[in-house]
Amino acid sequence: MLLTMLCLSAVVFMFVNLEPNLRKLAIFQTEMRASDQDLENWLQRNGYRDNYAARFGRWIGVWPKEPARDPATGAIMPRFRYCDEPTESRLAGVLQGDFGCSTAFRTTVNQRLPEALKATGILMFWVMIVMVPVSLLIGVLAGMREGSRLDRSLSVASIASTATPEYVSGVIFTAVFASWLGWLNGSAATAITKGVSFNNFTLPVMTMAIYGIGYIARMTRASMAEVMTAQYIRTARLKGLSFGGVVVKHALRNALIAPFTVIMLQFPWLLTGVVVVESIFNYKGFGWLLVQAASNNDIDLVLACGLISVLLVLLTQLISDIGYAFLNPRIRVA
């Protein structure tokens, strides 16, 4: 997992440090009419022309960061005025907790990232609260009598929900509930300043939940339908237990093993959803930050966002593996 992470961050690092991006950064940081030579000098002075391994090592924090110096006088010239960069040569990278300097927001990445992550955490929490029970309920209801009319209609509904990506449902919900009926806020910007409320948070949560519900519900249905055909369910029914009792007591636990993995693996998918939803509803969380960073060529911030999303994906994979082994007694971790 560490190897995967190292590889992925190296790839992201390479992509954000491509020549066109560096050039844009240099143009942005020097005066308007800087010549090519000036741009080159700026990049040279701030260490963007050192070899790739050294720069990557500096970012990780296994290679000392040198302060940028004026080549003529040798005096220290900070790279960006708005960040405190180290004034002597020392290790200052991700491992030391220093994510660098955001050029788009003119502050350190460390100042922006935690609050954005917190905002997104709140959103994710509510999405999970809505999505998981609803989808499990739909899946169990559909799967308990396979082929019934309830099953057919719920299955078509969940297929329809998987066909509705966030940007489609976001647009339709906003048009219906915010513009036409006027019940809810079409923007979640106030959720950050004034706190979460029903008005400003329902639409984003609904939009994000709808895409995931269908998928989880279908998985739950498949697993429930399989469990319902098992011998022990028939035995329980023949013993004279009620249908509802059999579903709740005997079938549910075994039927929920497969959806658990799916729910955990939904996190990476939710990440794309977060980015879309936060841009539609103008909610300043992690996804919004990622969009801002990427569209403003903010190298350090993109790197930090990339690292966090990759970490999230890998962690959820790990948790789903562990949880699967925990829930399913037939699987033992070797």
Binding site: T4, C7, L8, V11, V12, F15, V16, L18, E19, P20, N21, K24, S155, V156, I159, A160, T162, A163, T164, P165, Y167, V168, G170, V171, I172, T174, A175, A178, S179, W180, G186, S187, P268, L271, T272, V275, V276, S279, I280, N282, G287, L290, V291, A294, V302, C305, G306, S309, V310, V313, L314, Q317
Partner: protein, 405 residues
């Protein structure tokens, strides 16, 4: 401004779509007539879900094919007076009706949605096809041989899969990246896989029978090279080649015969990104199927006969894995459509004038636009949703039908 009213809009749209209805009718009559000989496709019509799926998909395919007849206007043409016009508004100058209104740049929303179908329905299936071939070419040996090949390829696939799609797009589909070699190298390698696949396919079948092997191989190589060059022959790639002193090569790939698709650099970029993002998923599925099929008796029989591993993989395993693969391809086309929409929604890759649905949704979803002129965002959103829904329904009933076998 005068409008034709709701009934006018509905009849107007139905009227404009006449070639689509004709084509659908022809298809339905043909299906009804020959439905016993059509195999799997004929059996799709036995369930409501399957019928709905086929009809929706066919509707969009025919709309894309007849886009030039169906759409009253060019998707890029602007009629200043119709800016933000309501659906059904009549142009006072020439009496032309904007059936689904005008957008913020005074273009016909209906025409744009129709032409958007054409863009989506060319890129999404083509990208899915190439992703399938890449995934199959790599997944079969990984599942069949196992061992070191499997662990290396699986590690690479997991690497791509662990990468959040949205971040991948933000890094891979930028104007800046077209100045570097990355999209051309990635595209060049990815588009080589189909050629390799078909060469191996024919070689393993006809090895030793030169009278058949030679024409098949020659056709594959010529067609493959032509297609490959067509995909790669963009202006910027030629420019990059000239930079490193390969002007003759650059002039060669810019010959008109290699410009049949008329592909733009940004389209190539999107195409590469989408193929790259979906191949690892196919790889995983093919690998799983191959590991499953490997244990069957007919594989053991083929091994005993002394067939080569690639013959077994391509002519014994692949045909037996077709059911799940067809279902996956249907779902994947839908997923690729969603990915394309995401790209358009973030303004990545597609030109700002492009009529594709994602870009149209982005333009229509600005707060003010959505509040006052909801049809600009809702029309492409509903189009995209219905297409993906059709594909998902189709995949679902295909799965049911193939389980019956």
């Amino acid at each position: 401004m005068e409008t034709v009213g709701l009934i006018g809009i509905v009849t107007g749209i139905i009227g404009r779509l006449w070639p689509v209805w004709v084509a659908l009718a022809v298809m339905l009559v043909a299906v009804w007539r020959f439905h016993r000989n059509l195999g799997l496709f004929g059996r799709l019509f036995e369930t409501n879900v399957g019928t709905a799926g086929v009809l929706i998909c066919a509707f969009w395919i025919f709309t894309a094919v007849f886009a030039n007849i169906v759409a009253p206007l060019d998707p890029r043409v602007q009629v200043a007076i119709m800016k933000n016009a309501v659906p059904g508004a009549i142009n006072p100058d020439n009496g032309m009706v904007f059936l689904l209104g005008g957008d913020h740049l005074a273009r016909d929303v209906f025409s744009r949605a129709v032409h958007g179908a054409r863009i989506v329905l060319t890129i999404a299936p083509a990208a899915t096809l190439i992703a399938l071939l890449v995934g199959a070419t790599l997944g079969l040996p990984a599942g069949y041989f196992g061992g070191r090949i499997d662990s290396t390829l699986s590690f690479l696939a997991n690497l791509v899969l662990a990468f959040p799609v949205i971040l991948l797009f933000y890094l891979l589909v930028t104007p800046g990246i077209m100045e570097t070699w990355i999209p051309y190298i990635m595209g060049g390698v990815l588009f080589l896989f189909p050629i390799v696949f078909f060469c191996v396919l024919f070689y393993t079948r006809f090895a030793g029978r030169n009278e058949k092997l030679v024409p098949y191989l020659a056709a594959t190589v010529v067609l493959g090279a032509w297609g490959w060059l067509n995909l790669m022959s963009t202006g910027t790639f030629a420019g990059k080649l000239r930079e490193i002193g390969l002007s003759p090569v650059a002039s060669f790939i810019q010959l008109p015969v290699f410009d049949a698709f008329g592909i733009e650099p940004n389209e190539l970029n999107i195409f590469v990104a989408v193929v790259f993002a979906s191949s690892p998923g196919v790889f995983r599925i093919v690998r799983g199927l191959a590991m499953d099929i490997k244990t069957r008796d007919y594989i053991a029989a083929a091994q005993t006969r002394g067939e080569t591993p690639w013959y077994i993989m391509l002519w014994e395993m692949l045909p037996n894995a077709r059911g799940p693969l067809i279902v996956d391809a249907c779902l994947r086309i839908g997923y690729t459509t969603i990915l394309l929409g995401t790209l358009g929604f973030f303004g990545l890759g597609m030109g700002s004038e492009s009529p594709d649905w994602g870009t149209a949704i982005k333009d229509g979803s600005q707060v003010a636009q959505l509040r006052l002129y909801f049809w600009q965002g809702v029309t492409p959103a509903l189009s995209l949703m219905s297409l993906v829904l059709g594909l998902n329904l189709l995949a679902d009933s295909l799965r049911e039908q193939s389980l019956k076998d």
